[in-house]
């Protein structure tokens, strides 16, 4: 079965892919923070950020269509904000455009982060940055079992479709859905039990061991320095 992997392009070999996970997390998140906190409404600054994002997307070798397509997911939310805007006292088209650009760029940058870093590395990066262990562990299991669960659901749906003709009345449909959900919960529960037994069988004693392959190098330093320079100078420019 085919899945739409969140980190489908994470195993390419581009200048961005070789960076350490921590570098990318810190770099991209501060870019996003800078974008959102930028004072005033400065089109030149926004243009510069858009330009930088475009360069990063180009350097990442991730297909442009993938990034743009995914970024558009944010559009409905932006439009919603646009619809609400006339009720606030200072609405104008330019303001809306600035808002839309900022949101779109932020999502693009986030996508860049997840599609140039394999999810396991991202987790390791977060952990080294001090994110709670229990959260990392849960995200790790989620990533590992999301697809197993999806397949389970697909199989259950196929089994259901094989045994019925056409649609049943809504009440029956709902009941069917309910029992499917119930059995999915039970199956997951039992799977968790077996997983835990497998963990115990290999000596699990409450601590999840980790090894770290990628190291922080001069490349990471250059990347972070570049981003810091961009942020500081754009703030100075915008604050003038």
């Amino acid at each position: 079965m085919r899945h739409n992997f969140i980190d489908r392009y994470a195993n390419l070999d581009s200048p961005l892919h070789v960076l350490e996970a921590r570098t990318k997390i810190l770099g991209y998140l501060s870019l996003i923070a800078a974008l959102l906190l930028m004072p005033g409404r400065n089109d030149v600054v926004l243009l510069v950020y858009a330009f930088v994002a475009a360069i990063l997307v180009g350097a990442s070798q991730v297909p442009l269509g993938y990034i743009v397509g995914r970024s558009l997911v944010i559009l409905p939310f932006v439009l919603l904000a646009g619809i609400a805007a006339p009720w606030t006292n200072s609405f104008d088209g330019a303001r809306f455009m600035a808002l839309a650009t900022r949101s779109f760029l932020s999502v693009t940058i986030l996508l860049l982060m997840t599609s140039t870093t394999p999810f396991p590395e991202l987790l390791r990066g977060l952990q080294k940055l001090g994110c709670p262990r229990i959260l990392i562990l849960n995200l790790g299991f989620l990533y590992r079992y999301l697809f197993v669960l999806t397949e389970e659901v697909l199989r259950m749906r196929q089994a259901r479709d094989c045994r019925r003709a056409g649609r049943a009345p809504p009440r029956v449909e709902l009941k069917l859905l309910g029992s499917m959900l119930g059995s999915l919960v039970l199956r997951s529960f039992e799977r968790a039990e077996r997983m835990y037994q497998a963990m115990l069988s290999r000596g699990y004693a409450g601590e999840f061991p980790v090894l770290a392959p990628r190291r922080f190098t001069w490349r990471d330093l250059t990347f972070l320095a570049g981003i810091a320079l961009l942020i500081v100078s754009s703030f100075r420019y915008a604050g003038r």
Binding site: H3, F5, N11, P118, F119, P120, L123, G140, F141, Y143, R144, Y145, F147, V148, R191, R194, M195, Q197, A198, M199, L200, S201, R202, G203, Y204, A205, E207, P209, V210, L211
Partner: protein
Amino acid sequence: MTEYAIRITRLSYSYPDGTKALEDVDLDERVALVGPSGAGKSTLLLHLNGVLSGKGMIRVMGKPLGDTALREIRRHVGLVFQNPDDQLFCPTVFEDVAFGPLNLSISPQEIPHRVERALRDVGLDQSIRNRPSHHLSHGERKRVALASVLIMEPDILALDEPSSNLDPRNRRHFIELVASLPSTLVLATHDLGMVMALCPRTALMDRGKIWADGETRRILADARLMEEHGLEVP
């Protein structure tokens, strides 16, 4: 009295919902545990490394199970689960294979070499190590599951339905692979062809009891016995 790798006496276990399983049996060399589904094979395997503990006595490598630290037992007895998706729970293959040795506090410098060797031993390419297990085929996942246990260098290898869901070619490869391993083997299955290829001795298990125990050829040829317990002569 000879010392068996595993000696089980009057073992009984009841699941929280009341189902009973298990019985007397000695396991050594290469033994197959055959029987219909629900016979208690998997339950028995889970007892061998102390994940489940019922009433009765289990001796592993001559020592009663309760006496040795569980961690030690789990090093001696490597258990490979039927479904690799249950066994492989880490984000990448490397982490999964390294999970056991890291828990055994083997020095981190040594781990990559060990992982490399374990993957080679099960016939997998090294390029697989950084991939998430859900990107692998079922056959590959089965091999990774085996590697994740072999890396702990167990004296006793307990395999639960290792050939289930494998296509004929993968099944044959898997059998050849297991045949080439030096460890004591306990094989729970109803794949009787595999039993004949791997195990000189067979114990027939049904409804928690061992009904027959002896030379594989003799047991698998006994049509009445086999049919009585939901199996058939291969």
